[in-house]
Symmetry: C2
């Protein structure tokens, strides 16, 4: 998606260690006009899928998931990182390894909000190692629901998550795929799509 690639080039900051900072428009400050364009694009990409629910994970996936959901006319469910969560009754749970925070945490979703009838689009802001996505796929499948597709804003093509997910046979669409970046020059190379 050209608009997103241009924005990443303009406002993204490449740091050592494969870190791409996009917190000025994507995951701390959020440009909702850009989100709206991304939501439209997700709808275009998944127009052939009969999606009835969007699933994301707290916290930074929630904004884009909600704006995208307006284009699909469906509700959003967000998976919660568990502590003593104020959720009724039974939940599906899975474990996710966070590279950012360097630990494993439990992620849960209420059984009330994913059912075997659901045809789910998973949306998240970033895909790197794919651990969060694997956890979300696991939650959906625990419920007997179908993962119709996965929509990602920015995929780090030089990390293994994208290939891992595509190998599972899940339809994955990333609006921008960064194949290479250079912390010294700030240069970012996007995959042709």
């Amino acid at each position: 998606m050209k608009l997103l690639e241009e924005r990443i080039r303009r406002d993204g900051v490449v740091k050592a260690g494969g870190v791409l900072k996009v917190d000025s428009f994507l995951n701390h400050q959020m440009d909702v006009e850009l989100f709206n364009e991304m939501g439209k694009e997700f709808k275009r990409l998944f127009a052939d899928k009969n999606i009835n629910k969007i699933l994301t994970i707290e916290a930074s996936g929630i904004g884009i998931a909600c704006i995208a959901a307006q284009h699909f006319g469906v509700p959003v469910v967000f998976a919660k990182k568990a502590q003593s969560i104020n959720i009724d009754g039974e939940v599906y749970s899975t474990k996710i390894q966070s590279f950012t925070h360097g630990k494993v945490y439990d992620v849960i979703v209420s059984k009330k909000y994913i059912t075997p009838e659901d045809r789910i689009l998973i949306i998240d802001d970033f895909l790197a190692n794919g651990c969060a996505l694997e956890g979300l796929i696991d939650l959906v499948r625990s419920a007997g629901a179908a993962v119709e597709g996965i929509g990602i804003c920015i995929e780090k093509g030089f990390q293994p998550g994208g290939e891992l997910i595509r190998q599972k046979g899940v339809r994955l669409e990333s609006l921008a795929i960064v194949d290479d970046m250079n912390a010294e020059t700030g240069e970012i190379k996007f995959r042709q799509q």
Copy 2:
């Protein structure tokens, strides 16, 4: 706001200990059509304010903040619950007591995204004891920015947060104020507004 009150009456569940469960449409599963109506109402209520940014706190405030932001044409910033957060440079931070999770946590926002020029609308899904809001007001004022108002989806009028915030002279608009509720009968009494 009638639409929200009706929805709370229909789908909200009153539990013992002053707990109101609205996770079927507000803070686990999210009805983005309802969010859009709430966003419009926030815009109507704060039409006289020259707001240039919306501030919320992860996680359940993010969805309504983003949808509301579309009606204001402004970006959203969400304050993060701190661990080893992947944020550049300096941050404003404050401490917030969580009654739900029974602990105190640090909440931060990057200094880049709140500046003295900002005229901020704070949006959150719930107001009970007001601790989260006090923390967010503290963050805004640390930055020398102005809190133009606070928009809340559901205020628990029988807890002290609303009065506490109004006593500070901050303009607070809650779309629904629950003045009383009964866990045995499920009855919910809303404040006339």
